[in-house]
Amino acid sequence: MTDATITDRDHDAGFGDYFALLKPRVMSLVVFTALVGLLVAPVGVHPMVGFAAILFIAVGAGASGALNMWWDADIDAVMRRTSKRPVPSGRVTGEEALAIGLALSGFSIVMLALATNIAAAGLLAFTIFFYAVVYTMWLKRWTPQNIVIGGAAGAFPPMIGWVAATGSVSVEAVLMFALILMWTPPHFWALALFMRSDYDDAGVPMLTVTHGRPATRRHILGYTVLLAPVSLGLAFTPIGGPVYLVVALVLNAWFLKGAVAIWRRDEGMAEADKYRAEKDFFRFSLYYLFLHFGALLIDHTLLMTGVI
């Protein structure tokens, strides 16, 4: 036995390290949006089938997270926010992350097909491919618009949930997809503004690095303006309702106000109050998405119980 193997054993991973490969925090958003997509669909599913569908969508999302951590270990090691992830910290090897990612991808796709239908499984397969290959391997290190297109991967779960229930894509599913797609750029660029040195050090072409911070502020405002009609449009589809309409109006007004505030500031003002507006905007963006989907669920419940 060589010294190297002894050192490796010292870094034996616990179960939690493997679980961390699946990006549990991202998964919580995936579970919630996929669940709403599945529940608001006009076709009811057996609770056990619904539970299994959400579980396998979550496992598929986790698998793409593991593949991302395998490919991006070099970037993750440099950035403060991600340096404690299992692969850069040495608790799990890159090969293990790759093996787990590939195995869970195949597993989740097959199981989703068996539990629901082929269309939903095909969408899940495409989502994993899109996140692991198109975003992680290709766009992330190549274009400052990486976030915009990569956001599509995060936008698929409610559509997969919808298709798991109905078997096909419709306008409601497309708008739920578009809502997350348009929400991702302002959400991430606000983060990039106040996590300033991280992306610079890692050499990832974030908009803040390639086009400068004032351009990033303009982009945040632009995407927030484009997001509003998508959000409000969903209110006038069959899955929208009065609760959703009110929530969407309030949230979009607030979000636009924050985006305008960010747009009007320069770096001097931002540094003076330690990026307060940017941090507030980022935190609010999380509520923005959760409350939109929560409102859809409330309207669906009201409809089912005959209140509206």
């Binding site: 034996d12 616990g14 179960f15 939690g16 056990m48 579980l55 068996l114």
Partner: protein, 61 residues
Amino acid sequence: MTIKATHELHQRRLSRNVGLAIVLVGFAAVVFGLTIAKIQTGAPMQAFDHAVRPELTETGQ
């Protein structure tokens, strides 16, 4: 000779083994639950297996 001393790494291995056991038992439970749910909602109970099964065709002939 048996080794009695436990190292911190044994705890991590235990957590891995117990975690995997829970995942496998959970998976078996999910598949069983799915089977029950599918049969309750009237999914076909047999599949094509290289023999002619008239009851599996749309018209039943």
